[in-house]
Amino acid sequence: MQTDRMNEEQLIRDLRSGSRAALRLLYESHKDRLFTLACGLLGDAAGAEDAVHDVFLGFVESLHNYHVNGGLGAYLAASVANRARDRLRAVKRHAVKEAEIDSGGERCEPPEARAILQEETHRLELALAELPYEQREAVLLHLQSDLNFQKIAELQGVSLRTAQGRYRYGMEKLRSLLTSR
């Protein structure tokens, strides 16, 4: 944790000094995780791209206000969650869209393994898309972004118990959906 915090301090200092290398490092370190989170929350790659774009730009804009505490990843993830919620509210989306298959990637498995992996991923994405939003958010923030339940509760504006419950019910429903497919 101490090393993470020191690295984060150095990164923020370098960013504040205008270092492009630091900018690239920030982006490369967090982009895929944040994009995955945004895709999971929104079910829409284009919306997820916009959300990730806005989060990074917003972070750079508010660099002078950011206080280093070793939780940059969690901070950015929370920003993505907030943007996703705002976006969903703005478009008044009610239906859950089918998730897109991830056809990119740089894995080197044999074709059959890759096909199986894509199929499992596709099933997971479809199952996630069927969860109520708050449960999906709790599951993804906890497992994808390593946010603890206290942080998730604060983000969702609910009690710790409710946040934990949302995660538990979300996981149970996912399990049920995945075993029934």
Binding site: R33, T36, G40, H53, F56, L143
Partner: protein
């Protein structure tokens, strides 16, 4: 069952969607542009020391702003490596005052925080010395602006000193301050302002109450002022810090 649970958790943890090259280019370009255009300015509260000194001297209207700049000291052989190791934070204070009319003094106080770093800087003293030499060379017209907001000089030691930010202090707009103060007075008379009680203070045997009051001006700007109120409710004095404005302090 536990294995199945762990397996699902792992599956979700390992689920990863990669960004496209197009998105990467778009975001990095926009970020680079944003970082370059970034004005390293952040408002900061009025430091107590400056406030106390100026208030005790005369009736003064104060404003405060902080400008964050960054100075990087590099070895003469610096090429493409940004190898800054130690940073020292140096605060600089700047005050300018005018007296627009008898018995009214308007002042502007600003604090700037500068982070000075370099592989060979071992102490704050060395950092300050480098910074002072930079300012001297800058005033002599020997600083070169190598890109917007980035200045460079070569110190007597041969080291390259880079300064990101504006070496100039922001020029206060006294006319705007007076207009804003007049609007605040009008808002106070109309009882408009969000008041928060801070504390009591004793002065000349009387207990005065100190409030923080937030006024929203017609321009949309929110001004936070500190008001000191006499026991009879009349205003004893007012001052402000942060956001680029001050108030009249009448002792």
């Amino acid at each position: 069952m536990q294995d199945a649970k762990r397996s699902l958790e792992e599956q979700i943890r390992n689920w990863c969607k990669r960004t496209s090259d197009t998105l990467d280019r778009r975001i990095l370009d926009d970020l680079g542009e944003k970082l370059q255009r970034q004005e390293p300015i952040a408002p900061a509260p009025m430091p107590a020391g400056i406030w106390a000194r100026i208030v005790n001297a005369t009736r003064i209207r104060l404003a405060a702003a902080a400008v964050v700049a960054l100075a990087i000291l590099l070895p003469a052989s610096y090429a493409a490596v940004e190898a800054v190791v130690n940073y020292f934070t140096i605060s600089e204070d700047h005050v300018c005052v005018e007296t627009p009319e008898p018995n009214v003094t308007v002042g502007f106080a600003a604090r700037r925080t500068i982070s000075v770093g370099g592989p060979d800087i071992a102490s704050e003293k060395e950092a300050r010395a480098g910074l002072e030499e930079f300012y001297r060379l800058y005033r002599e017209g020997k600083a070169r602006q190598i890109e917007p907001g980035l200045w460079q000089v070569t110190l007597a030691s041969g080291e390259i000193f880079k300064y990101r930010g504006s070496p100039e202090w922001p020029a206060p707009d006294f006319a705007a301050q007076k207009a804003e103060l007049a609007e605040i007075s009008a808002l106070r008379s109309a009882g408009k302002g969000e008041r928060t009680f801070l504390r009591e203070m004793e002065q000349k045997g009387q207990t005065l109450r100190v409030y923080q009051v937030c006024y929203t001006l017609s321009s949309g700007k929110r001004m936070i002022v500190t008001e000191v109120v006499n026991p009879d409710g009349s205003l004893a004095g007012m001052g402000a810090g942060g956001g680029g404005f001050g108030g009249t302090f009448v002792p």
